[in-house]
Symmetry: C2
Subunit: 520 residues, 2 copies
């Protein structure tokens, strides 16, 4: 490999505007460099810049660790630069060799050492765990408490900074669009993914600066351990991108996968409100899933978000359901039907705009998160408030103005504290609860406000009881321990919770199984 062909990652990412701190783990790449596990390795090569390199040149590389070989696809980044990105998933000595339709790019070889993770918070990509839940690749549990910032990736640095400030304090996932949506300014002045002349798109080429901006933002999210639920297609189009034709769709999709899949915090959301994209058919959506499965070497999470009819989430390429619903009481039947994790990714927005979906109180948003959790599922936040000059939405990047976010973060911290396993709701419960039999029971009383309740706890275990006020964010330990049927006085108001956690075995009682929570 000619030294001149290799442009160090440090220089490349700096050129794209990456902050130096973010690339520390992968910086100073040399043929014998060290990259942390699930870090970001990039080979940059100089090649042809004539014709249409996006279309004309093929480029792949095979990365090998001992007996294993992973093939990844490279892409053209403009100005004669080609890149191949790779996220190593196992420590050891990796080597690679390129292949290309261009002799200039073919047969390049190199090597690097993959170390265990060194960056704080690097647990690898998120995967499905125990059928209905999630974990990072290193086995650390991940509970999605996400938000929605559709325009974050392509909005102004100022707006994106404000948006990130809000996200990093409260959320560990966000839903964001890869293709642009109108930002309320002159739509022709927005940075766009394809070259545009007047009202005409050149769909045979990309605008590398657009994607470089997105990647900078993706790394910003990664820095704060925020998963990027990348929406690949959506109906909020002002430039004709929802009607490009299937060749251009696939061309774009493959390019996005080639660019983004080496980022460990990427999830693929094939579409937002797929059923509102009237220019595509179900076979298009299925094909996008198949392409994603084929071209993403890391099997990042895959879902598709609907508005009306829910996509058939039993299809093998769907890793989890991404729903626009708030009928959480149907979670059990959905789990039974799909056998996959369920994310209620749009449960309406906290805010004050005039559309029905955009004016939840902070109380209602908090309430919906609790309902999702005690039904054994997860939820996503969103926010949209009127500005002085008209409509403005934090979801579209900007300052966080609502009051539910800290309550959601409070719930997240609670869940992360009380369980390493995901919560499962029993099939029959008199009052909503979720947990782990004989270990943990989290009750959420919804609109109910009994003065007291005889909790049907197993008699073989001693439990601590903690009263939780979800909106006021207070936890109050009940003195003593509880075992068997236990009467506990409850606050005289709705939307309260109580957590029972195992303290010890109760050797005074014969072992018995947890009773279903149905009082006589």
């Amino acid at each position: 490999m000619h030294r001149r062909d290799l442009i160090k990652l440090g220089a490349a990412t700096l050129a794209a505007g990456f902050e130096p701190a973010l690339i520390a783990s992968a910086a100073a790449l040399a043929p014998s460099s060290t990259i942390e596990q699930w870090g970001f390795f990039e080979v940059s090569l100089s090649g042809p810049s004539t014709g249409n390199p996006f279309k004309d040149i093929t480029l792949t590389a095979r990365f090998t660790l001992e007996h294993r070989t992973v093939q990844v696809i490279g892409f053209y980044d403009g100005e004669g630069i080609y890149r191949i990105r790779f996220m190593p998933d196992a420590p050891g000595h990796w080597t690679y060799v390129t292949a290309s339709s261009s002799p200039q790019l073919a047969g390049k070889t190199g090597a690097f050492t993959c170390s265990p993770p060194t960056t704080s918070g690097n647990h690898g990509p998120v995967t499905v765990a125990q059928e209905f839940h999630f974990q990072y690749a290193d086995g650390v549990r991940y509970f999605p408490f996400g938000t929605t910032t559709y325009a974050y990736l392509f909005s102004s640095d100022e707006d994106a900074k404000l948006s990130l400030e809000g996200m990093k304090s409260y959320f560990n996932k966000t839903r964001i669009c890869v293709l642009p949506k109108p930002l309320g300014v002159d739509k022709e002045k927005q940075i766009l993914p394809f070259p545009r002349s007047g009202a005409s798109n050149d769909l045979t080429r990309f605008n590398p600066a657009y994607f470089q901006l997105l990647e900078k933002r993706l790394l910003d999210l990664q820095k704060y351990n925020i998963e990027a639920d990348l929406i690949l297609f959506h109906p909020y189009d002002a430039w004709g991108y929802k009607n490009m034709g299937s060749d251009a769709d696939d061309f774009y999709l493959r390019y996005a996968i080639a660019r983004f899949s080496a980022f460990r915090n990427v999830w693929w959301s094939i579409a937002n409100e797929y059923d509102l994209v009237k220019t595509k058919t179900m076979s298009d959506w299925d094909r996008f899933f198949r392409i994603t499965v084929a071209e993403d070497p890391y099997s990042h999470l895959r879902s598709i978000h609907h508005s009306g009819p829910i996509y058939d989430n039993t299809k093998s390429w769907v890793t989890h359901a991404s729903l626009q619903r708030y009928d959480f009481e149907k979670t059990a039947e959905r789990r039974a039907a799909w056998r996959k994790p369920i994310l209620y990714d749009e449960i309406q927005y906290e805010g004050d705009v005039d559309r029905r979906w955009g004016n939840l109180s902070a109380e209602e948003m908090t309430h919906r998160f609790w309902l999702a959790i005690v039904n054994g599922a997860y939820a996503s936040h969103g926010e949209v408030f009127l500005s002085d000059t008209g409509e403005s939405s934090w979801s579209d990047a900007g300052r966080l103005r609502g009051e539910s976010a800290p309550r959601i973060a409070y719930l997240r911290a609670l869940i992360e504290k009380i369980t390493k396993l995901g919560l499962t709701a029993p099939e029959t419960a008199y009052y909503l609860n979720a947990g782990t039999p004989n270990e943990l029971y989290l009750y959420y009383f919804d609109y109910h406000r009994p003065a007291r309740y005889d909790f049907p706890l197993p008699a073989s275990v001693n439990f601590s009881a903690t009263l939780v006020d979800p909106y006021n964010m207070t936890s109050t330990l009940v003195p003593g321990t509880s075992s068997g049927k236990s009467r506990i006085a409850l606050p005289n108001k709705p939307y309260q919770a109580i957590i029972f956690q195992k303290v010890s075995d109760n050797h005074n009682k014969s072992t018995d199984a947890a009773k279903p929570d149905i009082p006589a």
Copy 2:
């Protein structure tokens, strides 16, 4: 007619414990007495007291006004006294003649003059009006805002008095059981409808004192214009009354109809939670309806209340649906299916007990009433709070302790003020509203809290706008008038309402129809 045969109503009702004030309208009955329209006329006759007069003796009377004759059925009231009751529905000179299997009771004749109503609040019995609503027989609109006091009729005078105190301040209807339910005291010490010896019921006779007590309570309700939704069968039995067999069922039902149907404030609720009475079949329920239609000369309102499966409310004998549901969003489809008024008669209870149905906050109860109303239906209140000594329920007679009742009365007063017609919800509405096109629009924003909204009012009418806070019971007039698409600032909190009322025609605008409430 022998003067001795006629025991004056005044004396009879006083003997049963009726307060003198209540019988003023029908007192001083003489052969040529005057009874007000929808008042209470009673013929009392002395007859055989040997054998089983309840079973052995038939007694009817034919009441005639000009060309019209109404046949009514009499009953044995114990101690050799037989009664025939009649509610005249038209002014004029009425005559009657009795028929009986006993020569002592047959062929008795008499007459009275029926005057227009003289008692304040006497508008006659309630009937269905305009398909989905109600009115009194005199055409005055009646909007049911009811409560639930199952044990009111047979509870202690002290409890009943407390219960009535609560009801009379807030409600114009209550659901009450005719057959007893356990009152928490020794069940054998309760007053019972059938003679009982040890654990054995004599189902061939009645205990007149039981029914006399009920009638006293019915008149107390009537005094305060409270409709008595009489539950004829129910599953809350401690004496074997839910398993009497069909002969005894029918015998009891006919006796109840003979005794109660002349009270103008009676409605027939064939059963409460009919599907929980496992000893009866659907053909039993249908038969009870048919008997009620046949034996009640006044066609009082008829419904049947369920727990799980809803009775087929399309059946001709059902006058309105009495539901145990709070899925108000299904009202439109139910109206379309049944073409009858819908009463959500059990929407759970305000209270603090441990059962799921018994611990709503006052806010939630108030909210549910508003949802019922803006969906074009009606609702009933109920209450159950823990006492110091255990469970006690105002629904079962006693002091009113919750805080929703004044809010419900506030809504009732509002509805009575703004419309003489019932409210109808449009088939498609962006935000929940009900009213009368071009006259009245009542919006209830549920959990939504838009900072403002562009209300799609018709341009041909000028409207006043009044902001209503349902829980705080405040109404605030918005300055000026609104016409056509009208932007109005709204309070920054959920569960708020706004009322648009026609002030004048807007002659500046061309006449147009009200637009469906769906913003572009």
